[in-house]
Symmetry: C2
Subunit: 415 residues, 2 copies
């Protein structure tokens, strides 16, 4: 790997692909719409972005995105890879973002542009913190040495007061859950103040600690202004909590980075709003390059949706996202983070999820109805999920596993 930043794109253009690639490279480095006297060959050699790869895929009659195109224009799709010298922006994630995802989506020759890859030289590892806890730190704090962390989300998302929230948490803790998270809509509204909620919920966690021999991990959603987030983090820590949660798109990169700097706890990163960045196939981001920025900035857990989810993402996309989160960033500096599966999850997808992660159970598996719907109650729901995962890891069919596990047997009826 050179000392250059590489970004890959799916590009659709009304221009000749080679010219479009040069326009994008120029616009995002030393060029502009006009020839510049100061843009000497030396300057361009030193600071210009380089077209590293340009492979034509196909040609379409209609543009993917509306724009100002010449009559009769045709639209060529291609794989484009650009590179920039690190000297242009230094080892600065916000400025990497401003470079690889700046004013290029709206260029007139662009009828579609999506970031499909991002590779940074290993020198970034010295300048970016990465996850402080990652997989091993999370397992240690949660007291779950192997297998997935079985988790859930407090519901209803909003509307309950702290005492009601704590009562829900108690049910879940008594049911043997490993991980609980706030909904991303629940932060610090007047009806359920953060501080009171944390105190009430942590009382339940600590009450159960001795009996369980471990502390259930609760990701408290501290999303807010920076000073609020720091205060909230400190409160969670002082109450013996082991995780904080933040909505990445709501606070942005500076917010995560400062939280990481301040935090003594794993950061559970929610991706709410992700659809707005990804759902148009001809625009925005693939998850692999997008998550990398946040992981480098310090996210320990990263949401990836779930197989068979209730949203519009395909299982293939979910699997790709999860593998991206688990893939080492560099051979010597993996900065591993933990993928979080959620949305309509049950034991039925344990085996396919395990296959999608290529045999990794270093993940959080959050289910709602898959637990609460169990006729035997929360404890049976959790036991059934765990048993389904044991079967997935051992390569045993669920129906066979169910013969040893009555909770799983019952669960197969409603999942």
């Amino acid at each position: 790997m050179s000392d250059r930043i590489h970004a890959s794109y799916w590009l659709e253009t009304s221009d000749s692909p080679a010219r479009a690639a040069e326009v994008i490279a120029g616009e995002q480095s030393s060029g502009t719409f006009l020839a510049l006297a100061n843009e000497t060959p030396e300057l361009k050699e030193r600071s210009g972005a380089r077209v590293e790869k340009l492979e034509i895929i196909d040609v379409a009659d209609r543009p993917s995105l509306p724009g100002r195109y010449e009559a009769g224009a045709r639209f060529t799709r291609c794989h484009l890879e650009l590179s920039w010298p690190v000297d242009n922006m230094g080892h600065s994630l916000p400025n990497v973002l401003a470079t690889v995802a700046g004013n290029l989506f709206e260029l007139q020759c662009v009828s579609g542009l999506r970031i499909t890859g991002l590779e940074l030289p290993e020198s970034f590892a010295r300048h970016c913190p990465g996850p402080a806890f990652g997989i091993q730190g999370t397992r240690r704090l949660a007291g779950v040495p192997s297998g997935p962390l079985i988790g859930t989300i407090i519901k209803p998302s909003v509307g309950m007061n702290p005492a009601q929230t704590a009562a829900e948490a108690r049910k879940l803790i008594q049911g043997g859950i490993d991980f609980i998270k706030d909904d991303e809509l629940q932060a610090d509204g007047p009806h359920c103040p953060f501080d009171e909620r944390v105190v009430a919920v942590m009382r339940e966690v600590k009450d159960a600690e001795q009996r369980l021999g471990r502390k259930v991990m609760v990701a408290f959603n501290l999303t807010g202004e920076l000073d609020e987030m720091k205060h909230r983090h400190d409160l969670v820590l002082s109450q013996g909590g082991t995780c904080v949660m933040v909505s990445l798109n709501a606070v942005g990169l500076s917010g995560l980075r400062e939280l990481r700097r301040h935090s003594a706890l794993p950061i559970h990163a929610h991706r709410g709003g992700w659809g707005s960045l990804s759902r148009c196939p001809a625009l925005g981001w693939d998850y692999a390059p997008w998550h990398k920025i946040w992981r480098l900035a310090g996210a320990d857990h990263l949401h990836v949706n779930g197989l068979g989810n209730k949203f519009s993402e395909s299982d293939e996309e979910v699997g790709r996202s999860a593998r991206a989160v688990l893939k080492p960033l560099w051979p010597d500096v993996p900065m591993a983070a933990m993928p979080v599966f959620s949305s309509g999850q049950t034991g039925l997808v344990a085996a396919s999820t395990y296959a999608a992660t290529q045999g990794s159970a270093d993940l959080i598996f959050a289910a709602g109805g898959g637990i609460f719907g169990h006729p035997g109650g929360v404890a049976s729901g959790v036991a059934a999920l765990r048993s389904a995962w044991d079967a997935a890891i051992a390569g045993i069919a669920l129906t066979q596993q169910a013969q040893q596990c009555p909770e799983l047997q019952q669960a197969l009826g409603f999942w």
Copy 2:
């Protein structure tokens, strides 16, 4: 205005619009995919999002966005307005964002969703700083009491060292420019360190100050980590600078908010990456609701592209964006910000720009080729632009105005 947050959407759905609206409202408040025992009628009444408006536009045979739809599904487009009680998230911009733009874009029934409006109760004015300088503060610091601030961007964007950058600035200052900005690709790379650049450029600004009777405003791009941004701001201030610039999408909402809290200078807000949020008509954001979040958080200047720009945005969109930035947020608390026009700007669009702002010249008008291309040099280019704006404001045709202004006469030949 009630004590509720209102968000408007363009929605396309494969479901019945009424059911889709309820699903979205539920998902973003107290509901979920499953009926919940705890979601009592009282809780729903208190905390649920409400469907305020649902107007069907038309029906399409094909979805705007790919997804998992039933065979033969039809796709209804509608205007949807939802509201939430402020008590759900408090007066917290990040949590407003997590609510109105969270996990709703990817819902399975959604084949298109775009945020078209956002109205917050006036109580937010007590919790959000808004621009510290806005129009009047910017005019005072720049010494430009009326008319647009005529500006430009240092080019090449990257590749010049601090001394070369200062030499460019000198040319512009001697040419009579009001406003200069860094390119968003130029922050603090090793080849052009921020601190050295500021010192060198500010020397030129101060050298010219006595002669001009005013300080040319330079927006230095301090985009970076928070501690870096604060340090850089302090340096600009200590050198007598009057403006800082930040890339909103690179630092995020926490970054802008903390910068606003720290800053004693106007904040010039760059929207690089905006295309990724807006170019698919069936997804993402309109500019009016999007810019409002940043303006409430403290942006003084907000980029809106330019009429006849080199990008793909239409003149209608640009005009709408500019009017949104100038529109008071509330009758008693306008929190006015200054729109920044740029990209291929010349005096030819002065009159249409003035019409698009409905007769406001409270704006920054940044030109590159429109200035540098003038055969008489930078000073003539600036004079021609100023004269074109004088004509626009007075309602005089450019050809007539050019009879009094030889620089404009010459400019009309090359614009």
